[in-house]
């Protein structure tokens, strides 16, 4: 791992595990991603477990007085973050395979292991 160079960008993997509206953590995770994008960090996002539910289209959280998470997620590519990995097993578990709000890369367990192994730093939200 190249941790000594102050010039080389670290590869940061954000592992998301929470559903979109049960609490504020999912939104706060994406806020962090936006900040990281503004500082041009090399960020990859992995949606696994309940986090795949964040990607369902046609959400209308105004019904529960919350802001739409998918709108914020959709802003990430504008800031140069476009590597969205989604756990195919989690998608299958919820019966969601299409109709996602973002272009994503479906990954299986071994591919996820590789993502984790190749990251320099991991943050878990």
């Amino acid at each position: 791992m190249n941790s000594n160079s102050t010039k080389a960008r670290k590869k940061i993997l954000i592992i998301l595990t929470q559903s979109p509206y049960s609490g504020s953590l999912s939104r706060e995770a994406i806020d962090y991603c936006l900040a990281a994008a503004a500082f041009e960090q090399d960020l990859e996002l992995l949606f696994t477990g309940d986090a795949v539910l964040q990607l369902i289209k046609n959400q209308e959280p105004s019904a529960i007085d919350q802001k739409n998470l998918t709108k914020t997620l959709s802003a990430l590519p504008i800031y140069g973050i476009d590597k969205f990995y989604v756990d195919s097993n989690s998608l299958a578990q919820y019966g969601i395979n299409d109709n996602l709000c973002l272009p994503t890369i479906k990954v299986d367990e071994s591919e996820i292991s590789e993502l984790i192994a190749n990251a320099d730093t991991i943050l878990n939200f």
């Binding site: 102050t6 504020s24 953590l25 706060e28 806020d31 962090y32 900040a35 991991i122």
Partner: protein, 130 residues
């Protein structure tokens, strides 16, 4: 080695803050440096000056304050997450026209850029979940 910690749990609601506290103490004991401790999500409550647990319980916010005083650790609380949850320093209290502030002066309210900076400058970043 240079460490940064990201803490997500409120004191007393889960074990998160206490685990992080004990880990911090062990880091220092083992000669590591702490670049920054960043409090996000519900962990912003660790910065409250008003926390008053019973005398026979650990005073978690006070423990962080003691670590700050003894070791000059950079304790940063996410300003957006804090203000939303009613943790304000005097500046924010004035800005939002609130009657009082409650952030311990051992903590600094700042933006997510501080967490980004911490990930860039630390050898290890450990998340303590909510």
């Amino acid at each position: 080695m240079n460490y940064s910690l990201v803490i997500l749990g409120a004191p007393y609601s889960t074990q998160s803050a206490t685990t992080a506290l004990n880990f911090t103490k062990a880091l220092l004991k083992n000669g590591h440096q702490i670049y920054r401790i960043f409090f996000y999500h519900d962990a912003v409550h660790n910065g409250s000056e008003l926390s008053t647990p019973p005398q026979d319980e650990l005073n978690i916010p006070a423990e962080w304050q003691k670590l700050k005083k003894d070791h000059s650790i950079d304790l940063v609380i996410c300003i957006a997450a804090a203000v939303k949850r009613g943790i304000l320093d005097t500046n924010e209290a004035r800005r939002h026209e609130k009657s009082s502030s409650n952030l311990s002066d051992c903590f600094e309210l700042s933006g997510l850029g501080q967490l980004v900076d911490a990930t860039e400058h630390s050898d290890r970043v450990i998340t303590f979940g909510p």
